[in-house]
């Protein structure tokens, strides 16, 4: 079993190298059969890695404790779901997952684009498979998931494993890492297409459409992965928060930010032939930051609660990252002429200009996070003195930037392409601005005096109004012209331009998430000791400890408290926080008691019993508006899926001023 798994990975490594060589030889040696052979090698790599992954999962499920990885990350008592998720519970297995996802993406990208971009595909394959060779090389020669436990010259088997980290035995953790990996790894595909377009001087914008679609899909996975991680932190880590500015969290956020910037600015290239260099920089930055994120998580470069332990792969990752960075710089700088803009900017007050502006602010935000993450490492290297950069830095730097970005989210749709006159701007801004000011003023008079929160709520109202007005005006227009009910008109409006209106829905979701984040300005937290039957008042809740029980199952022992939550004398919830002690790993975990509501969550952590046994200790949190983060995510998901649906009407866009090639008129194809 272990030999077959290791062999499959070794063969995948060899075939990856073959795919690189065959594709390049096929393209530059004008031997098409070699290029086709390279394509087939990509499919073969996927088959081999699927076999390897299948064997590892089989070993985990069946409890083959001769394999070191299985022994270190699973035990007999774990449920089959968590035995499966142990695949990515450790360094070696998660690198195998990385490789398998990359192989899957590569196979799909090659299959769907092999005829469409025949000239470019060998280069795309070379880039994808070089990365593949790097990762399969790591799990072949450095960190194999199929190492067996040895005593002397013999293979040994132990009766049981050490089990999966209890913090990972949670349903969101079953899908959070694969989702993030789908996002991280997926960023390689747009990068490969972008670089291949440079190398082959790909004419036209066809490849951009393909790249953009890939970028949306991977952005969606990143968003889902990050949000699942936040949900996991919120419900499992028992600290009443969802984001701690940990280096690994930051590492997942940075490529998301650059991918977001790319998804905006790529429209400029599609429609105007502008910002080509910028897009190359963004797509490359997203890929490089994904690799950097993987490096931070896996090499112990920065101290993080999420990171895998120190491992011997730091030099490999650093070398790969630096090599990729140098190659990207060379590729872009030697092709500046090819990347020359085809159009001119008609006005500073235009959608084009606002796109670049929003991109710059996004990148500034990304840089601030990158700086905060790496500064302690740089400082330690330079001065041999350790520094700490924690949440206060990020809040001080990122909150103003985030508020400005929120403002730009509302401004973008109000500014026309090409040029906006002062009069049209006044018309467009008047109502949303008044609504924003009214909401902020109303909340201010209502007793909220937190300036950043008031600004955020005002801006959220401003942006929401702009979006709803866009839907309203468009739907009303269709309703009037085509005599259809308003909901059907709204559906028709969205279908006619799914990208535009799907994008607005995404913005609406982001606004909802911002409202949720803003709620944290009003969090309440107390620590309270309660005896059986005792009631305490917290916020507007009366909380009574009704029972404490304990028990055990095959996996863990637990102590379980039951708290009656009353409001105005009426019981509104029964919360049951718990402490668990996992038998295999002898590690402890707490399960929070949580009452979710649109206005606020009540979050209870059971912390143990006082030494005299008279009272139990609880931490109570009142967390306003948190639910809007998760609601916002669902809206983002829905909006992104709409963006992926082809529009009913296809548009082609004229260049404002074309340099060097003939201008095409705008046409509409139904």
């Amino acid at each position: 079993m272990e030999n077959l798994g290791a062999l499959a990975i070794l063969l995948a490594f060899c075939l990856s190298l073959f795919a690189v060589a065959a594709s390049l030889a096929g393209k530059y040696g004008r031997r098409p059969f070699l290029a086709v052979s390279g394509e087939r090698a990509v499919y073969s790599v996927w088959v081999l890695l699927t076999v390897a992954a299948g064997l590892l999962v089989y070993s985990l499920i069946t409890g083959d404790f001769r394999i070191a990885y299985v022994q270190a990350h699973s035990d007999r008592a774990m449920s089959p779901l968590y035995k499966f998720t142990a695949w990515w519970g450790g360094q070696e297995g998660s690198l195998l997952l990385w490789s398998w996802i990359l192989a899957s993406y590569s196979a799909v990208a090659v299959w769907t684009s092999r005829r469409k971009f025949r000239n470019m595909m060998p280069i795309v394959i070379a880039i994808l498979m070089t990365t593949q060779a790097f990762f399969t090389g790591l799990i072949t020669f450095v960190l194999s998931p199929f190492h067996v436990l040895m005593a002397g010259n013999g293979i040994i088997s132990v009766p049981d494993g050490r089990g999966l980290d209890p913090l990972l035995q949670w349903w969101t953790m079953a899908i959070h890492p694969p989702m993030l990996y789908l996002g991280y790894v997926g960023s390689i595909v747009p990068f490969a297409f972008a670089m291949a377009s440079l190398v082959t001087r790909q004419p036209g914008e066809g490849w951009i459409h393909t790249t953009r679609r890939w970028a949306i899909v991977t952005w969606l996975f990143q968003t889902t992965g990050i949000t699942l991680g936040m949900g996991w932190a919120y419900t499992v880590l028992s600290w009443g928060g969802y984001w701690g500015w940990d280096p690994v969290e930051n590492a997942s956020l940075m490529p998301w930010i650059t991918a977001t910037a790319f998804l905006h600015s790529v429209m400029m290239q599609e429609k105007k032939g502008m910002m080509k260099i910028w897009n190359m920089v963004l797509v490359s930055a997203t890929f490089l930051l994904s690799i950097l994120g993987t490096t931070l998580t896996r090499t112990g470069l920065v101290a993080s609660v999420h990171a895998f332990a120190q491992s011997p792969i730091k030099p490999y990752f650093t070398t790969f990252l630096l090599t990729a960075l140098v190659l990207v710089i060379v590729a872009i700088s030697t092709n500046l002429k090819f990347l020359k803009s085809e159009s001119k900017l008609e006005s500073v007050v235009s959608r084009e200009s606002s796109f670049l502006f929003n991109n710059l602010i996004l990148l500034a935000s990304c840089f601030a996070i990158l700086w905060g993450t790496l500064f302690p490492v740089i400082m330690e290297a330079l001065t041999n003195e350790k520094e700490t950069i924690d949440t206060p830095y990020y809040l001080r730097v990122e909150v103003p930037i985030a508020l400005f970005l929120l403002f730009l989210t509302g401004v973008g749709p109000l500014i026309a392409w090409r040029k906006s006159s002062l009069d049209s701007l006044r018309r467009a801004f008047l109502v949303p601005t008044l609504v924003g000011i009214a909401v902020a003023a109303g909340l201010g008079f209502g007793g909220i005096h937190h300036i950043a929160a008031l600004t955020a709520f005002g801006l959220a109202a401003f942006v929401t109004t702009t979006i709803l007005r866009e839907f309203w005006k468009g739907s009303r227009s269709i309703q009037t012209k085509e005599s259809m009910p308003l909901p059907k008109a709204a559906f028709e409006l969205t279908w006619r331009n799914t990208r535009r209106y799907g994008g607005y829905l995404v913005h609406l979701g982001i606004v909802a998430m911002f409202v949720g984040f803003t709620g944290s300005a009003f969090n309440l937290h107390v620590v309270q000791n309660l005896g059986l039957g005792q009631t305490t008042r917290f916020g507007h809740y009366d909380i009574k400890l009704s029972s404490v029980n304990d028990g055990s199952n095959d996996n863990y022992e637990f102590s379980h408290a039951a708290l009656e939550i009353r409001r105005h004398g009426r019981q509104i919830a029964l919360l049951e926080p718990e402490i668990r002690l996992y038998k295999a790993s002898q590690s402890q975990n707490t399960i929070v008691g949580l009452r979710r509501a649109l206005n606020e969550d009540l979050y209870v952590v059971y912390s143990g019993v006082l030494p005299d046994g008279s009272k139990a200790t609880f931490q109570f949190y009142q967390l306003p508006l948190v639910s809007w983060i998760w609601i916002g995510f669902w809206i983002v998901l829905f909006g992104t899926l709409i963006c992926l649906v082809p529009s009913k009407v296809r548009y082609q866009y004229a260049r404002t001023e074309v340099v060097g090639i003939a201008s095409k008129p705008a046409t509409v194809q139904s």
Binding site: D390, I401, R500, D550
Partner: protein, 172 residues
């Protein structure tokens, strides 16, 4: 107080007691005061698990923040100023004890660089705008009169088409 909690299984209670007895010997609800929170906001929790400050670390049994809060309270009770408490901690542990580097020496870079990046961004933006602006074309009086005549109509039609769910700018 009710003693029913004693009825819980001895095995489990013993496990938890062993874990928490020392930490809960002092009532955890008594340590945090506004004064402690004020100082704790400047100090990083160095437990290695969270990224909070001593004031905001939510872990009841935190090995770092718990004792540090008690120490801050003790020093405040003795009349030591907030600034001197922070200085004492930094003297013992180095600047790593601070939640964010001070805005002096090398630490200044922490705070300056995001601003520098933003400034560079604005410079790039203005450079790009200047570079991509077309040369202004001379408009004759006749053209200008014609433009003025139709400007109102153009604005109206652009507005209408913008609401019809047209192209990216609403202009088909």
């Amino acid at each position: 107080m009710p003693v029913s909690l004693r009825r819980c299984s001895l095995r489990l209670v013993a496990t938890f007691f062993l874990s928490f007895a020392c930490l809960l010997a002092q009532d955890p609800t008594s340590v945090m005061t506004p004064g402690v929170a004020r100082v704790g906001d400047h100090l990083a929790c160095r437990c290695g698990v969270c990224r909070n400050t001593v004031a905001t670390c939510p872990m009841l049994h935190c090995e770092y923040s718990g004792p540090m809060r008690a120490r801050i309270k003790g020093m405040q009770d003795q009349g030591v100023t907030d600034q001197n408490i922070i200085k004492t901690v930094v003297k013992e542990q180095g600047v790593v004890a601070l939640a964010a580097p001070p805005a002096e020496g090398w630490g200044l870079f922490t705070w300056v660089m995001p601003g520098v990046a933003l400034l560079l961004g604005f410079l790039v933006y203005s450079w790009w705008v200047r570079r991509n602006r077309p040369e202004p074309k001379a408009v004759s009086d006749a053209d200008r009169a014609l433009l003025d005549r139709f400007r109102g109509q153009i604005e109206t039609e652009m507005g209408e088409s913008d609401t019809a769910g047209g192209g990216p700018n609403g202009k088909k």
